[in-house]
């Protein structure tokens, strides 16, 4: 009962592998090329896929412990019923409809159903607090909202009065909603039933719907994605259908994705990454999208599905490695020894084998044995055993971390992208992969570096402006039509782009030394014990940092060293923890001192924050990026303490609990000094002279 027969049957897996080998992308690409001009929206692909892959799985969702699945034909029927129901509710071309919730089949269908009516879906981050959500819904002027469950219904209803345009809420899960006033509420099933009733009454309704899809224009806006708002209010990025399809088609060809691939959809629905990697690529290539049972079961679901295409931000890979390391610490001595030996061998030869470079025969054989004993089982536990292509992006990834996964035989690559580009700007090709760069321009993308060092691009998936914000749109575009990314970067010797930091974050210390905060923060974050770091220094005398410890890693370390603690706050303030973090900072300073550009910005003083940085408190964006400006204001006292030489500082911080209530945390935060190394003057001079 645990898994569908498809999953459990080993013969099926073998079949999938054979199919995958036999898949000849060329024939299929021809079809795509032929229809390229006509296939300029996702609903057009839906109709096509229902014909060409009719009986293949398009969508799976684990429910009541079993993987339920829908074929492309069934998926089309579900979408059609919902679309006709929406149409009966008066949804017309250009109407905006919010989609709020986790990765669930019905929400993906809502997006497709809306697009099939040329209406515009506006996915919203499900974990956004009411105020953020109200802003987006109001700004977009949504008429309807399709939401997942009671939690989202409650949230939307709490501000519904303030948004006059919002008429009706459609919910997926009826649980807990029976006693609600249904004047403004409808269930997804009801709307679908209405659609099916229309089809029974009117024999031509289905054909009219298909006709509507065929005659739709690729110039229409396909989706509006609100940026996560790293800086200020989020903006509604409009993506046109033809552009979206073209962008997806380029990368589907680039990575040779076919209907035989599968993905686990666990990224936030409202994020461009999810919409692109799972929805857009899924419709263009016809692969199967698997929705996890719940947010907490993702790791287990990943293991059961074993997708072939996988995307995760670096912090997920970091989490996996931390987990593996912790478990191995607790393993028996023999196992630990075997693991260490095998991983050491993989580190030496694994990447070369992955990239098909020459490797001695004996090393190859040993790798095979290692694969049987360690790498294979490990990948299986992590759910990565079938991975053909994996990507990471969003933040810099540590060399150690990156090569660990690659050495196991996982084809992990990097890409660099933005909502405004409809994701891809650069992407690494198989075999040309490095951890410190993000690859050359993606297919059909033009990139240039402005005189100020900013990365600018032009691409097929380029956005059609910010919704109702001419001014910001103008700011984002150069006069000759390139999009400004706001990131500072440069192309290195082998043509791969390297991103240093946000262009506006790169600053200088009073001494004139270059200060790139993210560079320093990333270096710190590569230690498993450090979860988050915020560096300060622009316009100051020296560089200083806030550090967030990783509770999993440090907690485990504390357990092994008999350090008792009751809370995050207590552990963070522990002197042993300070000593350990101090050693990490010392290591970073030594590393920085060897880099002529960065040697001036070594960390002189640091503190371990008394609370974890949290998106609910506005300290991180919903995609878990640090909001530097906000943190700067919120912890002003602590920053001053870093620079005025005091050894500790008492602070009170307001925190927001998950249910929206507020509380205060009080703490006395210690500030530690770190050793600074002299810059290697001669080397610097010599390099400068070269």
């Amino acid at each position: 009962m645990e898994t569908s027969p498809e999953q459990e049957d080993p013969r099926h897996r073998a079949q999938v592998r054979r199919d995958r080998r036999a898949a000849a992308p060329d024939g299929r690409n021809e079809v795509l090329a032929q229809d390229a001009a006509e296939l300029d929206t996702f609903p057009k692909h839906l109709l096509l896929n229902a014909e060409r892959f009719g009986d293949r799985s398009a969508m799976r969702h684990k429910d009541f412990g079993i993987w339920q699945s829908w074929t492309w034909k069934e998926q089309r029927d579900e979408i059609r019923a919902f679309a006709l129901g929406l149409s009966a509710m008066g949804v017309r071309r250009g109407d905006k409809v919010a989609v709020v919730g986790a990765n669930r089949p019905r929400l993906y269908w809502s997006i497709a159903a809306l697009q099939s009516l040329s209406a515009i879906p506006v996915p919203v981050y499900a974990d956004a607090v009411a105020e953020e959500m109200a802003y987006v819904l109001d700004h977009a002027g949504v008429r309807l909202a399709v939401v997942q469950d009671q939690e989202q219904v409650d949230k939307v209803l709490s501000f519904a009065e303030k948004i006059p345009a919002l008429q009706t809420l459609i919910y997926d899960e009826p649980r807990g909603l029976a006693e609600y006033d249904h004047a403004r509420l409808k269930s997804f099933a009801e709307v679908q039933e209405e659609g099916r009733a229309i089809m029974r009454r009117d024999a031509s309704a289905a054909a009219d719907w298909e006709q509507g899809i065929r005659s739709a224009s690729g110039e229409d806006v396909s989706i509006m994605l609100y940026t996560s708002g790293t800086t200020g209010r989020s903006k509604g990025v409009m993506i046109r259908a033809a552009a979206a399809v073209q962008a997806a088609r380029d990368t589907v060809e680039f990575d040779r994705l076919t209907e035989k691939d599968s993905v686990l959809a666990y990224l936030p629905l409202a994020w461009v990454g999810d919409h692109y990697l799972n929805y857009a690529q899924g419709y263009v290539s016809g692969f199967c999208v698997n929705c996890p049972e719940s947010q907490e079961t993702v790791a287990q679901d990943l293991r059961e599905i074993a997708p072939t295409f996988y995307f995760a931000p670096p912090r997920v890979f970091e989490g996996l490695l931390t987990m593996v390391t912790i478990r191995m610490e607790d393993a028996s001595r023999l196992k630990k020894w075997l693991f260490d030996r095998c991983v050491a061998h993989a580190r030496k030869y694994g990447e070369a084998i992955l990239e098909g470079r020459p490797v001695p025969l004996v090393a190859r054989l040993v790798y095979r044995i290692g694969d049987f004993l360690v790498y294979g089982p490990l990948k299986n536990v992590l759910g990565l055993s079938n991975i053909r292509i994996a990507y990471t992006a969003g933040e810099a990834i540590g060399e150690e971390l990156f090569s660990f996964f690659r050495s196991l035989g996982i084809n992990l690559k990097q890409l660099y992208g933005q909502t405004e580009a409809f994701l891809y700007i650069t992407v690494q090709a198989d075999g040309k992969v490095r951890s410190d760069a993000v690859g050359p321009a993606a297919p059909n993308v033009e990139i240039r570096i402005s005189d100020a060092g900013e990365v600018q691009f032009k691409s097929p998936g380029m956005f059609g402006g910010y919704y109702l914000d001419e001014e910001k749109t103008k700011e984002a575009l150069t006069p000759d039509g390139y999009v400004r990314t706001g990131d500072a970067g440069f192309f290195d010797r082998d043509g791969q782009l390297r991103i240093i930091d946000r262009a506006k974050d790169v600053g200088r210390l009073n001494s004139g030394a270059l200060f790139a905060p993210k560079y320093i923060e990333n270096a710190l974050k590569f230690f498993p014990n450090i979860k988050e770091a915020v560096a300060f220094g622009d316009g100051r005398d020296f560089c200083a940092a806030f550090i967030n410890i990783d509770l999993t890693a440090v907690g485990n370390w504390a357990e092994r060293n008999n350090i008792a603690y009751a809370s995050y706050q207590e552990l963070a303030g522990h002197s042993e923890v300070y000593a350990m973090i101090g050693r990490h900072v010392d290591e970073i300073n030594l590393k920085l001192s060897k880099e002529p550009m960065m040697a001036g910005a070594q960390i002189r003083r640091f503190l371990i924050l008394h609370k974890e940085l949290d998106a609910d408190d506005g300290e991180l964006t919903r995609t878990q990026k640090v909001r530097r400006g906000f943190i700067g204001d919120r912890y002003l006292e602590l920053i001053e303490a870093l620079y005025d030489g005091s050894a500790e500082k008492y602070v009170e911080t307001e925190v927001t609990y998950e249910d929206g209530r507020k509380g205060r945390i009080r703490a006395t935060v210690r500030i530690a000094d770190a050793k600074v190394y002299a810059a290697p003057v001669e080397t610097a001079r010599r390099e400068a002279a070269e």
């Binding site: 009962m1 339920q68 069934e74 807990g176 099933a189 907490e296 079961t297």
Partner: protein
């Protein structure tokens, strides 16, 4: 194909009683252990479909009262009427058959078994195939097991514990163990659910979750609930009627508002100067 759209299968036993009719009545019950009088001459009733709270300071006799209802203790005096029938001395498993399930003040799960197995254990009294069939496993026993597993999966979905389905409960944090225990009680599809301090030792968020589950069980499954709880906020929010015990005696009985303003209750909780 969407299984969520189907009507939920686990529900309270149908027993022909309408909402609001008396389901269980305690009449002049007294219970003593040797010289210690745990309960003295207590009478109250529990009506079908309500949430009935039993509160009182420590040692007031709340858990003893629950044990009497459950059939674990047989009172020396007084009678207990369940669905209008007077109950004779009985064992707790008889109570289960009659549709009374409970959770415990100190979690009493099978620590080494997974969440799934623990909740499945709650179905054991409902399984019809004997041990011989169960050992054979195939055929009717398997079909029966699948039927029961479906109900258990609904409970797992209802309590949002999918992620710990395969985890041995001994490894779970306390709040989740309490949730699993509730799941096991629900698996018996009880008419009357007895909860002994369901929120003890929980943090605010866990309490809110637990309150939501209790309310939903009551509203949507129609299960009658009797609960003992120390958190007054929770009691006042959740329950329809409250009975207050102090030193084994009933000192008040009524709606939360009535009880809150009752002088005897205030004295019992805040103490009176002597």
């Amino acid at each position: 194909m969407n299984v969520h759209a189907e009507q939920a299968q686990f529900a309270a036993h149908e027993d022909g009683l309408a909402r609001g009719q008396v389901l269980l009545e305690v009449r002049n019950v007294s219970l003593s252990f040797g010289g210690v009088k745990a309960i003295t001459d207590i009478s109250f009733d529990i009506r079908k479909g309500e949430i009935r709270a039993i509160i009182g300071p420590n040692g007031a006799g709340k858990t003893s009262m629950l044990n009497v209802i459950n059939g674990f203790y047989t009172p020396q005096q007084g009678t207990i009427m369940f669905r209008g029938v007077e109950r004779r001395a009985m064992k707790p498993h008889h109570a289960v058959r009659q549709g009374i399930a409970r959770t415990f003040q100190n979690v009493a799960l099978f620590k080494g078994m997974s969440t799934l197995d623990n909740i499945m254990a709650g179905r054991s009294t409902l399984m019809k195939r004997n041990i011989g069939w169960q050992m054979l496993w195939h055929g009717p026993a398997l079909r029966e097991e699948i039927e029961h597993r479906k109900v258990v999966e609904e409970i797992i979905d209802f309590l949002e514990i999918q992620h710990i389905r395969r985890t041995p409960v001994g490894r779970l944090p306390y709040g989740l163990q309490k949730r699993v225990e509730l799941g096991r009680a629900l698996a018996m599809e009880p008419t009357l659910l007895l909860l002994d301090e369901p929120m003890a030792g929980m943090n605010l968020e866990e309490k809110e979750d637990m309150s939501r589950f209790i309310l939903e069980v009551n509203r949507q499954r129609g299960t009658t609930i009797a609960l003992i709880e120390h958190d007054m906020g929770v009691v006042m929010d959740l329950s329809d009627r409250v009975v207050v015990l102090d030193y084994g005696k009933k000192i008040a009985d009524g709606t939360p508002d009535e009880v809150k303003n009752d002088q005897a209750v205030i004295d019992a909780y805040l103490g009176v100067p002597h």
